[in-house]
C-alpha cells in the first residue's frame, strides 16, 4: 500500500475504483470536464404529482445496484430517508448505494438493510449507529466519507453518479419549486440538496406542505424536479431545529472559548473581517463572545458563514455584520431571518467550498473555529472516529474551513473521560496538520510552527502558549498514554480529502 503525505498507508483502490493517495493540500489538480444528468422532458399539461413513494420509485425506474441520495437539512428529525429506504426494501431491491449528505442516529432503521443486502454501501457522512455498524464490518462494501463540499465535487465530476435524488422539501408546489423556510418541517436553506437536484438523473421532491404554484421563495427550481410526492410528515420539528440553543455552562468549554476569542482578537479582529460560525458548544460561545467584543470595540464584520444560530442573527440585526451566508440553520430565529432578511443569503454547497471550482466562500473567510475528537503533534485532526476506533461522525465542513480560512483554530478539551484528546498520533486523519494553525485547550494554546506570525501576535497575551508535544505530555501525565484501538486489518471506510485523494482509512473494530 502506498504511504500518503500524512504518513498513512492507503490502498490504491476502494470498491474497485482507483484512488490517488493524498499528496498534500492543493497538490492534485483536477482533470476532465463536469458530468451531466440525464436529459428529460416534461410536456405541458402532464402532472408531476405522484400519490405514493412506491409509485414514484416505479416511475423513475429504480433498479438493483443504483444510487439514491438524500440531504440532511432535517438532521435527526428526518423521516424521508427511512421512509424511502423502507419502501425500497419492501419492493425487494438489492445492492443499492446510498449517497446521503449525512445520516443521523434517527437513520438507524437503515442498519438492518446493510445485513439483508438491500444496501451494499453508503458514501456519505454517518453520525452514530450507521457508522458504528460500519465499524463492526456490517457493510458489504467499503464506505466512503467526504466533506460536505467534497461530496459536491464528487457529484460534479461524476465520481458519484446519482440515479435518483429524493429531496425532503419543507415546502413545494405541484410543479417542483421547493424551499426550506416555510411549512411545519421548516429547516432553513436547502443548500445540501442543490447539487443532487442539478446532477441526478431523476429528482423526486417529498413534501408535507404542498402550496399553490408558484411556491416562493424558491431554493430548488422546478426545471430540475421531476416528481412531487405529498406525505403526512417529512420530519419531526424537535429534531430538525433547536428551540433554544444555549451557550454552554461548562467552565472548561467556556475557558477554551475565551482563549479562542482572545486569539482571534490578537490575530484577526479588524473592520471587515469574516468568520465561520457553528452550533457546537465552544463555537457558539466564541460567536457570542466575539459579538460582545465587536460591539465594545465598534468593529463590523463583512460576513459570517454558517452554521447559523440566533447569535449570528442577533449580530446581523445589530449591524455588527453586513452579510450572513447560510448553508445550514440551527434554530427558528435563523430560519425566520433567512426568509425575511435580504442580507441573509442561502449558499449552495458548491459555492461554499467545492475545491474544484472557480473559488468558494471558504477561501474568503478569515477565521474558522472547529472542534475535533483528537489532535496530534503534527496538528493532524480527527473528527470521524473515537479513540476506540469507532466511526461515529461525518467530516462535515471541517476540511473546507481548515483549508480555506486564514486562521484555523481547533478548540478541544485536553482530554475527555480520561482519554487524551491531544496525542502522539490521531486514530484517523480527517484534516491534515498543514492547514491547522492553532490548537486551543483549557490549558492554553499550541501554535503550528508554520505560523510564526500567529506566535508573534500572541506573545504577551493572556493565552498560555505551549509546544504541542508538551501539551500532549500534559494530557498523558493526567490520563496516561492512550490505548490503541482494537481493530483488524480489514478496511471498512475510506476518508477522502476534499479533492478526492485518499487521506486515511478506517479499520474494522473487534467486538468485545
Amino acid at each position: 500500500m502506498p504511504v500518503n503525505a500524512v504518513g498513512r498507508d492507503v490502498p490504491s483502490e476502494i470498491n474497485g475504483v482507483r484512488m490517488k493517495p493524498f499528496a498534500g493540500v492543493g497538490k492534485t489538480p483536477p482533470e476532465g470536464r463536469r458530468a451531466g444528468s440525464l436529459i428529460r422532458m416534461q410536456p405541458s399539461g402532464r402532472s408531476k404529482l405522484v400519490d405514493t413513494i412506491e409509485e414514484v420509485i416505479r416511475k423513475v425506474g429504480l433498479e438493483d445496484g443504483m444510487t439514491v441520495s438524500f440531504h440532511h437539512h432535517l438532521r435527526n428529525g428526518d423521516y424521508v430517508a427511512n421512509m424511502v429506504m423502507k419502501t425500497i426494501q419492501k419492493m425487494g431491491f438489492r445492492n443499492i448505494r446510498i449517497a446521503p449528505s449525512a445520516f443521523f442516529p434517527v437513520h438507524k432503521e437503515i442498519v438492518p438493510m446493510l445485513r439483508d443486502g438491500t444496501v451494499r454501501r453508503i458514501e456519505g457522512s454517518m453520525n452514530g449507529p450507521l457508522g458504528e455498524a460500519t465499524s463492526y464490518g456490517e457493510m458489504k462494501e467499503t464506505a466512503v466519507l467526504r466533506s460536505h463540499s467534497g461530496r459536491v465535487r464528487a457529484i460534479e465530476c461524476g465520481e458519484i453518479h446519482i440515479d435518483v435524488a429524493f429531496i425532503a422539501a419543507p415546502t413545494a408546489d405541484q410543479y417542483g419549486n421547493l424551499n426550506g423556510v416555510d411549512g411545519p418541517s421548516a429547516c432553513g436553506p436547502l443548500a445540501y440538496a442543490m447539487a443532487d437536484a442539478q446532477y441526478a438523473d431523476h429528482v423526486v421532491a417529498i413534501t408535507d406542505h404542498l402550496v399553490p404554484y408558484p411556491a416562493h421563495p424558491i431554493s430548488i427550481f422546478q426545471h430540475q424536479v421531476d416528481y412531487v410526492v405529498n406525505v403526512d410528515k417529512i420530519g419531526d420539528p424537535s429534531g430538525i431545529v433547536s428551540g433554544t440553543l444555549r451557550i454552554t455552562t461548562s467552565p472548561t468549554r467556556l475557558k477554551i472559548a475565551r482563549y479562542a476569542t482572545e486569539i482571534i482578537e490578537k490575530v484577526a479582529l479588524r473592520d471587515g473581517f469574516s468568520f465561520q460560525a457553528g452550533a457546537g458548544g465552544v463555537s457558539l460561545a466564541v460567536t457570542k463572545f466575539l459579538g460582545e467584543l465587536m460591539e465594545k470595540k465598534g468593529i463590523r464584520a463583512s460576513f459570517i458563514n454558517g452554521g447559523v444560530t440566533k447569535y449570528v442573527v442577533e449580530m446581523l440585526h445589530k449591524g455588527l455584520v453586513d452579510v450572513v451566508f447560510d448553508g445550514q440553520a440551527f434554530d427558528l430565529e435563523a430560519i425566520k431571518s433567512l426568509k425575511e432578511d435580504p442580507n441573509h443569503i442561502e449558499t449552495p454547497l458548491a459555492m461554499y467550498g467545492n475545491p474544484h471550482s472557480s473559488g468558494g466562500v471558504v477561501n474568503m473567510i478569515d477565521v474558522g473555529v472547529l472542534g475535533a475528537t483528537e489532535v496530534d503533534i503534527d496538528f493532524n485532526v480527527n473528527v470521524n472516529t473515537h479513540s476506540d476506533g469507532l466511526l461515529l461522525h461525518g467530516i462535515g465542513g471541517h476540511q473546507e474551513v481548515a483549508a480555506g480560512t486564514a486562521l484555523t483554530l481547533i478548540t478541544v478539551p485536553l482530554y475527555r473521560y480520561r482519554v487524551p484528546v491531544v496525542r502522539e498520533s490521531v486514530t484517523t486523519v480527517t484534516t491534515p496538520g498543514e492547514v491547522v494553525d492553532v490548537v486551543v485547550t483549557e490549558y492554553g494554546a499550541a501554535v503550528n510552527p508554520r505560523r510564526e506570525d500567529i506566535l508573534e501576535a500572541l506573545r504577551g497575551s493572556g493565552v498560555p502558549l505551549w509546544d504541542i508535544e508538551d501539551l500532549m505530555k500534559k494530557a498523558y501525565s493526567i490520563c496516561g498514554k492512550p490505548a490503541e484501538p482494537r481493530t483488524t486489518d480489514e478496511i471498512v471506510a475510506a476518508i477522502q480529502w476534499r479533492d478526492g485523494t485518499l487521506l486515511d482509512v478506517v479499520y474494522r473494530v473487534k467486538r468485545d
Binding site: 455552562t249 467552565p251 472548561t252 467556556l254 475557558k255 483549557e442 490549558y443 493526567i478
Partner: protein
C-alpha cells in the same frame, strides 16, 4: 499582601473537579474536606487531597485546604496528611482564640517534624459565640484573614437566610474586627451560580463594605468577581493623580501633599496605592 478576591471551593472527594481546579485563575483554590464530603468519605477525600496537592498543577492559585472543625474527630488527621503540602489552612466553626491555640499546637508540631514554614490560618466564623469573639480570633498571629458563614448564624437566630437583615451588621462586624488587626476580611459565597449579574452586584457590594474577596462555588464565577473587585476607571484615574501628587511632594521634600488646592491625608494616599495595586492585577 496577597490578593484573595476569589477562593474557589472544590469538593475534596471529586477527582474530576480537583484536577482542573487550577485552570480558572482563582486567587485561591480550597480543597474541601468539610461540608462537601460525606462522613463515610472523609478518609478517601483526605488521601485524594494530599496527593492532589503534590501532583496537580494549581496554576497561580494559592492552595488552601478546608479541614474539619475542632468539634469533630477528623481535624488532627486532616492536618497531619495535608499541612505539609498546602499554603493555607481554612478552619471552620471557630469560636475563640482557644480553638485556634489547639490547632496552632498541632500545626506547630507537624511543621517542626517536616521542617517547613509556618502555615497561615483563615478561620471561618459561623456562630454567634464566634462572632462575639471575632476580634480575639482576628488578633491571633496565625490568622491572615477572617471569613464568615451565615447558615449556622441565621439558624441560631431563627431567621430565614434570605431575609436576615442582621447579616449586614455581621458583615460590618467581621470587616471591622479583621481590619482592627490589619488582617483581610473575606465575604461568604453567592450561591446562585447561573445569575452572573446578581453575583457582580453582590461582589461589588462586598468590596464597598470593606471585604477583600468573596468565596466562589463555580469556576464561571471567578472572572465576574475579579471584574467586580477591579476598581472603576474613575477610581483608578483619581488614584493615579493622588499617587502622582504624593510622589511629587516627596521629590520636592514637602511634608504636605496637595492636589488641586486640596490637602491630601496620608491614608488617602495609601488607599490610592491599594486601588492601583488591584487595578494592575489583570
Amino acid at each position: 499582601m496577597r490578593l484573595r478576591r476569589t477562593r474557589l471551593y472544590i469538593p475534596g472527594n471529586n477527582p474530576h473537579y480537583v484536577e482542573s481546579a487550577g485552570l480558572y485563575g482563582a486567587d485561591a483554590v480550597i480543597l474541601d474536606l468539610e461540608d462537601s464530603v460525606p462522613l463515610d468519605q472523609k478518609f478517601d477525600a483526605r488521601i485524594l487531597v494530599k496527593y492532589s496537592l503534590q501532583n496537580v498543577d494549581m496554576g497561580r492559585s494559592e492552595k488552601w485546604v478546608r479541614i474539619n472543625g475542632v468539634d469533630t474527630p477528623f481535624w488532627e488527621k486532616d492536618l497531619k496528611e495535608v499541612l505539609p503540602f498546602c499554603d493555607v489552612i481554612n478552619l471552620p466553626k471557630v469560636e475563640s482564640a482557644a480553638d485556634l491555640n489547639r490547632v496552632d499546637d498541632v500545626m506547630g508540631a507537624i511543621e517542626e517534624e517536616h521542617g517547613i514554614e509556618k502555615r497561615p490560618v483563615v478561620p471561618i466564623i459561623e456562630t454567634i459565640r464566634g462572632l462575639m469573639r471575632a476580634e480575639e480570633i482576628a488578633a491571633h498571629p496565625r490568622v491572615v484573614a477572617l471569613a464568615w458563614g451565615g447558615e449556622d448564624l441565621t439558624a441560631d437566630l431563627g431567621i430565614p437566610r434570605g431575609k436576615a437583615l442582621i447579616l449586614d451588621h455581621v458583615r460590618g462586624h467581621i470587616v471591622l474586627a479583621a481590619k482592627a488587626h490589619g488582617k483581610q476580611a473575606l465575604d461568604t459565597v453567592y450561591s446562585n451560580v447561573s445569575d452572573m449579574e446578581g453575583l457582580f452586584e453582590y461582589a461589588r457590594r462586598a468590596r464597598y463594605m470593606g471585604f477583600d474577596g468573596i468565596g466562589v462555588i463555580h469556576p464561571n464565577q471567578v472572572e465576574v468577581v475579579h471584574r467586580a473587585f477591579r476598581p472603576t476607571d474613575e477610581e483608578i484615574e483619581e488614584a493615579r493623580r493622588i499617587v502622582q501628587a504624593a510622589e511629587e511632594a516627596e521629590r520636592e521634600g514637602k511634608a504636605v501633599v496637595s492636589l488641586n488646592g486640596r490637602m491630601i491625608d496620608r491614608p488617602v494616599v495609601e488607599r490610592a496605592r491599594k486601588i492601583l495595586r488591584y487595578a494592575e492585577v489583570e
